[in-house]
Symmetry: C4
Subunit: 229 residues, 4 copies
């Protein structure tokens, strides 16, 4: 079963440069096998064009390496914190994609300004608070995960499948690595359009709850009627 | 004859990703056979790279499916309202193309700021009012069509072949699916240039009526002299 | 000799979509044979992907067609006015390239803000005044040429090889069609960078004359030392 | 050994158009052999698509040509000044890449606004003062090098591997030509994101020193833990 997961994680990682979300090695995707409680993640600093199945690293939820010769992504601990806290998630992505990173650098969440946003994110895509000096100097990557969890204390990560880490960049997730990447692509599109809509009309407000509901629930939940299922 | 229409609708749909107007499945093109009063439209949620002739859905003008196994685009009712009200139209397109969606999210129409706009759109590309809660909670996609018709009560859709739906994105149309897509491409270009021209000169006004006339009528109507016919 | 010119004009036209300067048929390149006083120009409304040598149109300087079955570009008279007034020019280009058109729509010339500009344009790339209603309703394309000449009454078109036509878009030129296209590409780059530099620092001023001189004269004239000749 | 260096310099030069950093011939990469005190640099004005090993020019640190038929890049003297002052560097790049040039034209340094910046540049990417008329009219390219050195009088070029030359564009460097190009790509990304983050939040401040340290030192120096070594 881990072979299937590894293939999914490899494919999802390769989707990042294909979709224009990464420069050099600035991104990583992981997936989890909830039966085995093992995650598969991209190794640190390996170029996408050279990435092969055998480079992927398998870890348990404490971060102990179970398989693989290479060091896992330096952001691994952030992924692990997300998996530990949200058992409903099967894949996590981190990138420095441009427009999402612009919002993260400005330390601002992205409000829902249109139906594109509402189709995928049920409300604002939040931006975390800044990490404290203690958090940065301590277990930095783990604290990055913790501040994401803190940001979602009143939010459902399945309904808002992404976040901006202040001064850093986006993380997104989904039921599997492919959906996590899909949400990373959407986040980037939404960030681009929200940036420019704000610039065109600086006092723009979030769309009405009714429209947000209509679009999110048209695609998600028991009353969804978008698509073929 | 529907085979020819299906081929035209398929080709027009595939033109959307080729022209950079869609991400994932965020767009749909339809065409109508006015003799049979049947429309052909993209199925809902099918990726463009997998789209084949046999996936297209045939419907009558009430939205009753006549042929096809898949669900039609979730925006089908909006297309139908447009066809019912404008017998001169043969194709309709909806996308979330970036620059047009930026204007739609800002709830602003795009004034004619240059001859590129005037060559295709005889005046402002309007933005609809927001839908009411009742409209959103009711037959939402049909009401989206209705608010487009309301927006065009004093406009000729042949002279202004596109609209922005508030908080949502653009619809465009034409005498056939190809022309509808052509106008979607133009709308996106015009939206990009208008955004930046406004940013460079915030008090910019629409071009003079004389220039608007000259360019629109150079390409349209009995005195047109652009092109080879 | 016209065969060589036709090949140069065809190649220069095909360079426009390759360089991302045109959407659909929104551009045209011409070249002139100064011995024969004949110009070769793109036909009106013919898609670039279908453009062949035999489609090109040959005209004398009065605009009388000498060879070719198709109608010449609707902008032909503007090209002719430029050739008649500037015997030193051998090629002319018109596009609606995005960033240059943004400035044209804002009716603003592009000041020299950096050495990229200074390497090719010896000072501001001017924007014409708006045409009067009489000019628009009269011989519009010829008047467009006339207003370009008026704009250059104190400028040398060889030193400033391009212009923005107010509310419309850029024209550029050179000693042959290839150089004219080269200058169209540079104009677009310069327009993009000037737009953003202004946005970053709204009170930005033109670079000092000394730097303008140094860069322009490093590439042009008898003391040039850039390149291999 | 110079053959290896030439191949590295050729490959690094070809990387520039591949990464979208240059239009036409607006860029150049050099490398140095510190044993021989010889540099290899791109010839002036040769298109990248025609560039071959035999076109590269070999010079000593005074700028005297040792090998090669063509003229070296017109910016050669700037490269030489950088090599003479910073013995730790092995490659230098100059481009007119868009976003970096936007900042250079606005005469503003790029503050560290996020971790992407901090991963590569240990603080602000500075912009030089403007050159004086005397400097421009004198040994201009050498003075450009001198003003870069002046700008770095309190900075370590290994920790901040790039600079913006006022009204001109970026230079970057590294331990070899490949790393110099890598830093040019990063500089461009960082410039794009900083531009937009500032536009979204004009009073944005540089990230805290703690976060800057954490990210820079995660990738550089004896305590680095990013990647595989």
């Amino acid at each position: 079963m881990l072979e299937t997961l590894k293939e999914a994680v490899l494919e999802a990682n390769l989707e990042l440069p294909k979709r224009g979300l990464v420069t050099y090695t600035w991104g990583n995707v992981s997936g989890i096998d909830r039966g085995e409680n093992l995650i598969v993640i991209k190794p640190s600093g390996v170029p996408y064009e050279e990435l092969r199945l055998e480079h992927l690293v398998v870890l348990d939820l404490n971060g102990t390496k179970v398989e693989g010769k290479l060091n896992p992504s330096s952001d691994t601990m952030t992924h692990l914190v997300i998996y530990r806290n949200y058992p409903e998630l099967g894949g996590v992505v981190h990138t420095h994609s441009r427009w999402a990173t612009v919002w993260a650098q400005a330390c601002r969440g992205i409000p829902a300004l249109g139906t594109t946003h509402a189709d995928y994110f049920y409300g604002e895509i939040p931006c975390t608070r800044k990490l404290t000096n203690e958090e940065i100097n301590g277990q930095y990557e783990e604290q990055t995960g913790n501040v994401i969890i803190e940001t979602f204390k009143d939010k459902n990560p399945v309904c808002v499948p992404g976040v901006l880490v202040s001064n850093h960049g986006p993380f997104s997730w989904g039921k599997d690595p492919q959906e996590a990447v899909h949400n990373a692509v959407v986040l980037e599109e939404v960030a681009m359009m929200a940036y420019h809509a704000f610039s065109l009309k600086p006092d723009l407000k979030q769309i009405d709850k009714t429209l947000l509901d209509r679009h999110f629930l048209r695609k998600h939940g028991s009353k969804a009627y978008y698509g073929q299922s």
